[in-house]
């Protein structure tokens, strides 16, 4: 039991803090801090700034750009990045398909994709969810049928975040309808410029367009674009979703937003009920951060610690609670969500409610909080 970081860890932290606060575009970081949507160009620029310094995919195998860091180093990297309002490396590339290819792909497919994936030269989209599958991912219906060397894909994916920017999409497809549903699923990489791929925007309740439907009509995909073996898709999906969950408690960014809320609160921070609400949120966030550190310390290998479900569950609840606090601080001015920069109301107050509404998704996507409770009660509590 030791609170202190080692001298090396402290040095590492200082290094990260310095990089994130001085080397990443201030304009982009200001946009993140203000809660604005980033453009594709901004996301690519920030990602490539990180990758150039070896900070985009530090958790990958070292031969593909990884850094061989300890868990605590990864944690510090992540927290400092979030604290500095640096947009994290695009998750579809860095946390999802990259690690899957590195773990399950052939040497040929690794060489073809990993460097470009690390540098966001290819923008990946995720093609997992389907309209009738929701939390029951294994019930997916998009089919890939072998035709010569190719696969012919038909079906529909949905909730494809930022799919409008995607160059390629990694998909779970049903390649064998005869076997148990999990066993007939494969992981197929599809060029989104292929004929028959169509991306349709979904408008969300905050008025934004961050998610999409992706339709596949007789899309021909070369056989070499299958990752691993046919039928291995479910294993890869579990591996990938496990990765997703570990980094999913957005502690650093929520802390940053809460600290900002205190500044923005002005006089309201002296109201005892508001002050108590902030203090309680800060305390829960601290408890969450410390829990993340405990989970990090106990995580071994690539299997996610079961307690990472706690991080997802509580992390999204607190993320949502802070966004709700901001709406309340904004008061009547929060109605003016569509006002432009000539508004007499501050930017943050106008953005507060769309952000609050948008973040209702946090407890649904990436394994809903009901799924997390299920994991906790089954895996941890044995119920």
């Amino acid at each position: 039991m030791e609170l202190q970081l080692t001298a090396e860890e402290q040095e590492f932290r200082a290094e990260m803090r310095d990089f994130f606060t001085t080397k990443v575009s201030q304009e982009i970081r200001d946009a993140v801090a203000a809660g604005h949507e980033l453009t594709r160009e901004q996301i690519v620029e920030a990602h490539q700034t990180l990758n150039a310094a070896g900070l985009a995919v530090p958790h990958w195998p070292e031969e593909w750009g990884g850094r061989g860091w300890s868990q605590i180093q990864r944690h510090i990297w992540n927290e400092e990045m979030q604290a500095a309002a640096v947009p994290p490396p695009l998750a579809f590339n860095a946390s999802m398909i990259g690690p899957v290819i590195a773990q399950f792909g052939s040497q040929e497919i690794k060489e073809r994709f990993l460097a470009k994936t690390a540098n966001l030269d290819i923008w990946w989209s995720q093609g997992f969810s389907e309209p009738d599958a929701g939390s029951d991912l294994a019930g997916l219906r998009t089919t890939a049928v072998r035709d010569g060397d190719d696969w012919v894909v038909n079906g529909q994916k949905t909730w494809t975040t930022l799919g409008q920017y995607g160059d390629w999409i990694f998909t779970l497809v049903r390649t064998d309808p005869e076997v148990k549903k999990q066993k007939g699923i494969s992981m197929l990489l599809i060029d989104m410029t292929s004929p028959g791929v169509e991306v349709r925007p979904i408008e969300l309740i905050d008025g934004g367009h961050e998610v999409n439907e992706v339709w596949f009509s007789d899309v021909r995909v070369p056989g070499e674009n299958l990752v691993g073996e046919p039928g291995q898709g479910w294993t890869m999906a579990k591996f990938l979703l496990g990765n997703e969950r570990v980094g999913v408690a957005p502690v650093g960014s929520t802390k940053r937003r809460l600290a900002r809320a205190k500044e923005l609160a002005g006089e309201q921070a002296h109201d005892p009920l508001t002050a108590a609400r902030i203090a309680e949120l800060e305390n829960e966030l601290l408890a969450l951060e410390l829990t993340a550190l405990r989970v990090v310390a106990h995580s071994a290998g690539s299997e996610p610690h079961p307690a990472s479900s706690v991080l997802k569950l509580k992390g999204t609840e607190l993320q949502q609670a802070v966004s709700e606090l901001l709406v309340d601080l904004a008061g009547p001015g929060s109605l003016a969500s569509g006002a432009g920069d000539d508004s007499a109301l501050p930017d943050w107050a106008r953005h507060a409610t769309p952000s609050y509404l948008n973040l209702r998704k946090a407890s649904i996507y990436g394994g809903s909080n009901e799924i997390q409770r299920q994991i906790i009660s089954r895996t941890i509590l044995g119920l």
């Binding site: 969810s129 009738d132 599958a133 929701g134 939390s135 029951d136 019930g139 949905t158 909730w159 979904i202 408008e203 969300l204 309740i205 905050d206 008025g207 998610v211 109201d271 009920l273 508001t274 949502q320 709700e324 709406v327 309340d328 008061g331 009547p332 001015g333 929060s334 109605l335 003016a336 969500s337 569509g338 006002a339 432009g340 000539d342 508004s343 007499a344 109301l345 501050p346 409610t353 769309p354 609050y356 509404l357 209702r360 998704k361 407890s363 649904i364 996507y365 809903s368 909080n369 009901e370 409770r373």
Partner: protein
């Protein structure tokens, strides 16, 4: 003590439900209406006028119908059920309510007559940047010169301020206090924009803009503003109750019809129990809202103030609970603009911010707990 509606009230409900149901029970119609300016249906507004709904609160002498709070609450509930985008609350209840409360006989007849007839849309320009549901104005000031009044300063957000034919504007008076003024919509500088609930609001700038005092010139009407805000709060609660009722029903229907893991969602007890908790929140909020409406009907302003705080607090808690759970129990589809439930949540969120959020009302109530032993709801 009677919580039931009489036959005439039931008939009113049926009529309003029929009207707005035809317009919006298909959610896509509501969505298309809010996408296009002015964010509501002029046709529905006219139909409401024809039905006499817009004139409900105003006396017959003023061109209205002279109905009571219970009738208005029925309209609010029904508008809430389909989240109708028409500005009933802001134009009729608030702006119209203030004209009714402080206007001269002549002003009342003219303005409320046109409002009741659907010929003139009113907006209340009261909120100012940085204000938090106050009953007074500070940022917009009124000046008198030789019997003529002008206004200067910015009001924002003004709900449907750009569409409004006539603005009811609060302003700080030269000798202190807050007065109300009428300003032709076109006389002010207005920047229109959409709000997240599907409505519209505006920044309204006055720059020495000519204005007509509402009622007696120079009189402080802060108390009247506060009273009308209380009425508005109680009607906002009724609107929210209608919206929550449908949000819950939409959710339970979804749980019954949507399958996951090969079974309907209502196979999962944890989800059903959460729906049960939503029902509890809704029932409690409904009770307090109906009660507050009846308190308002007694005409006791002080009791109405208290009841408005109480209903607003309970409805705030319920709106957040029911709204957040409605989306969560739907899952992804609840996040989309094409599906109804998210818009219900947006409207509930906006309704709470219009006239005071839960903490605002809780603080007011907490300050008074020493004044009585326990609360007796029956006078």
């Amino acid at each position: 003590m009677d919580f039931t509606y009489d036959d005439e009230q039931d008939a009113l409900r049926d009529a309003v439900r029929g009207l707005v149901g035809r317009a919006y029970s298909d959610f896509e119609q509501r969505r298309q209406t809010t996408k296009a300016d002015p964010g509501f249906s002029e046709k529905v507004w006219t139909q409401m006028a024809e039905m006499g709904v817009l004139g409900l609160p105003f006396s017959e002498d003023d061109g209205g119908v002279g109905a009571g709070p219970v009738e208005i609450s029925i309209v609010a509930q029904e508008l809430g059920r389909v989240i109708a985008p028409e500005p009933y609350l802001t134009s009729v209840v608030l702006a119209g309510g203030l004209v009714s409360a402080v206007g001269t006989t002549e002003q009342r007849g003219e303005v409320l007559g046109a409002l009741s007839a659907g010929e003139s849309v009113l907006a209340l320009a009261h909120d100012e940047p940085g204000s938090r549901w106050s009953s007074s104005a500070t940022a917009v000031t009124a000046t008198e010169e030789g019997g003529s009044w002008t206004l200067s300063g910015v009001k924002e957000p003004v709900v449907h301020g750009a569409r409004a034919d006539l603005l009811v504007v609060s302003a700080a008076l030269p000798d202190g206090g807050t007065g109300l003024f009428l300003v032709e919509g076109s006389a002010a500088e207005r920047t229109d924009y959409a709000t997240y609930d599907g409505g519209r609001a505006a920044k309204v700038t006055f720059s020495g803009t000519a204005a007509t005092p509402l009622g007696e010139a120079g009189r402080d009407v802060t108390a009247s503003i506060a009273t009308v805000q209380d009425i508005g709060r109680i009607m906002a609660c009724n609107q929210a109750v209608g919206a929550m009722e449908v949000a819950l029903r939409t959710t339970t229907e979804y749980l019954k019809s949507r399958k996951q893991f090969g079974v309907p969602l209502n196979t999962f007890q944890a989800l059903n129990f959460r729906a049960a908790d939503m029902y509890v929140s809704l029932e409690l909020a409904t009770s307090l809202t109906q009660w507050a409406t009846m308190v308002l009907a007694t005409g006791d302003a002080e009791a109405t103030r208290d009841a408005a705080h109480r209903a607003s607090l309970q409805v705030s808690r319920a709106s957040r609970h029911v709204g957040q759970e409605a989306i969560q129990l739907h899952g992804g589809i609840g996040m989309t603009a094409e599906y109804s439930v998210g818009s219900y949540v947006s409207v509930l969120t906006a309704l709470e911010r219009l006239l005071g959020d839960g903490q605002h009302h809780l603080s007011a109530l907490a300050g008074g707990i020493g004044d009585y032993g326990s609360i007796d709801p029956l006078p």
